[in-house]
Symmetry: C2
Subunit: 336 residues, 2 copies
């Protein structure tokens, strides 16, 4: 198969025949951003053996590669528009046709769900593992995209769904966690947690709503303390969150009750890809209600505080159900 | 070094403190495209061992990674604006600080020369060779970006500089070409050809001029027959080019005279990153003159022709100095 045949058969259909893409036959694509809108731009690379497991199904690799970018757009309150796909195929394991069919089919399904098209990209071969770089574009009214800076003392801290599932899924995959035999529905629990690691569930339909209500936002890719910490540093506030208020899946709740997932493990593991928002107190409950039709079960988990002194560190504190502080790893996930 | 320290020390300075970038601290960047302009978007990935050699100097790797994208923008007659940098560092050879200094320093110099800034990106680690994906953004007046379609029968075919240097440079590096001992200035010739392979020389300042005069354009990354062939297929024309009219560097001219580079080798090797343009005949000479102040020594190398019959193949024909046709590989460079 030549590069041109590969592009024509597998990738050109993902352009949805949009004229901006020139059917992937020009040196570049030509995007006309909607009038009055900013273009929100994000890039994420996922590498086999690092960000997904080499034997993961092609559908889940496709979903992870695209959704980690969609999560960044959601965190900026941007509406998805298009994406560039740069894919480096492993020389030693060039994928067979059914892999390519499944991979591009999953991209297509997610494109339809999130209303975006493939704008362009590049296909290469690498003397190493499969590597996928996506650059995604979204739109937001000029000057209105949500940033990490903007949180104010008194803001309520919201989270748009349960945390800790992905971290437990990865630990299960890598044998750092074993489910006890007495856990009800053991096989289903394992499968559910692993699926949540492999395929983050992203909601992009609430961007307009979040943009109206929230002061600041970030997605939880590096773990709640790290990502909320970024909001604190950018905004000059401290954050206090309550373990008892954290939304947990039934699976994590059961593991936590048995002492198999500690609070730092639940909140500190990355890859959850929920959003953490800061919202003026008078709108917090209202926003939670309005997010429900989008399939988001948001919860208020704490508040932003003015730092106790001018040069005090901008901390994220977690209080346990017993009222005592739970020490948190502040650094979060780093790749080096 | 944590990921955040790496970004802060080496990559944030490349944002040139542009507010669009949010100092690389947000989930995404926010670009406000200039009013009345389209955004031209291109992506290219370069992988060590495939698109550059693993021991190449960091400066030349940086220049190649960025310039192959700038070449695509130039081919679309777009003015450079910004770029996303996704870099996957090899786990087994994480670069030392002087490598990172040299790499980012070269990016910075090219940014200044071509008037663009780092908008965002991602840094990861890969269990394989260094891989660099860049997505570059340029601007062109709405609807005016040059495409491959648009060439008309009678158009003159222009090339913006000599071809064949990069291919010879790569063959020298990989011992497929040895310079004869009697060649004058042997060492300089070798160095020059290798540098042209490693560091394509790109001109982006002529975009406005080319957009006014040319009907169609492509960059020569896959070799002249392949890239001109794309213009022919997109435009419904045939192309005839004259070997005697091709601009050649003194180095290639000397090798050709000794029978060490054949015409198919000279025109067929990729990586030259000159532009091939089709221009109405009355403007061809004028455009060549106007390109000189931009450092481009363009030459008219042939013409576009109406296909001889309705379903005739849209061919690229090369005629030798003796008037006879020189068979060309039509497929060009493909990665698979």
């Amino acid at each position: 198969m030549t590069e041109f045949e590969l592009i024509e058969r597998y990738f050109r259909p993902l352009t949805l025949d949009r004229p901006e893409t020139g059917a992937l036959k020009d040196d570049a694509a030509v995007l006309t951003p909607p009038a009055g809108c900013d273009l929100v731009v994000t890039s994420d690379t996922v590498n086999a053996g690092r960000h997904f497991l080499p034997d993961d199904p092609p559908e889940t690799i496709a979903r992870k590669a695209l959704r980690v970018n969609l999560s960044d757009l959601a965190a900026m309150s941007a509406n998805p528009l298009a994406y560039q796909l740069n894919i480096a195929f492993s020389q030693n394991a060039f994928p067979p046709k059914d892999w390519l069919d499944a991979f591009t089919g999953a991209l297509r399904d997610d494109q339809i769900a999130h209303n975006l098209f493939l704008l362009g990209g590049d296909t290469t071969v690498i003397d190493g593992p499969l590597s996928i770089s996506i650059t995604a574009f979204g739109t937001a009214p000029h000057g209105k995209a949500l940033r990490r800076a903007g949180a104010k003392p008194g803001d309520r801290i919201l989270i748009t769904g349960p945390v800790g599932d992905s971290g437990a899924g990865l630990d299960l995959l890598q044998d750092r966690l074993t489910l006890p035999d007495d856990l009800p529905q053991n096989a289903e629990t394992k499968e559910t947690l692993i699926r949540r690691y492999r395929e983050p569930e992203i909601v992009t339909s609430a961007a307009d709503l979040i943009r109206i209500y929230a002061h600041a936002a970030a997605d939880i890719s590096d773990g709640l303390p790290a990502d909320l910490g970024h909001i604190c540093k950018a905004s000059g506030v401290c954050a206090e969150i309550m373990a008892a208020a954290l939304p947990l899946s039934p699976e994590i709740r059961a593991l936590h009750a048995r002492g198999l997932r500690t609070w730092p493990q639940i909140v500190g593991s990355g890859d959850d890809y929920k959003l953490v928002l800061t919202v003026p107190p008078e709108h917090a409950k209202d926003l939670c209600d309005k997010l429900k039709p989008h399939g988001l079960h948001a919860a208020v988990i704490g508040s932003c505080r003015r730092p106790p002194a001018e040069n005090a560190p901008l901390t994220v504190r977690l209080t346990g159900p017993d009222g005592k502080e739970i020490p948190l790893p502040q650094a979060g996930w780093t790749h080096f």
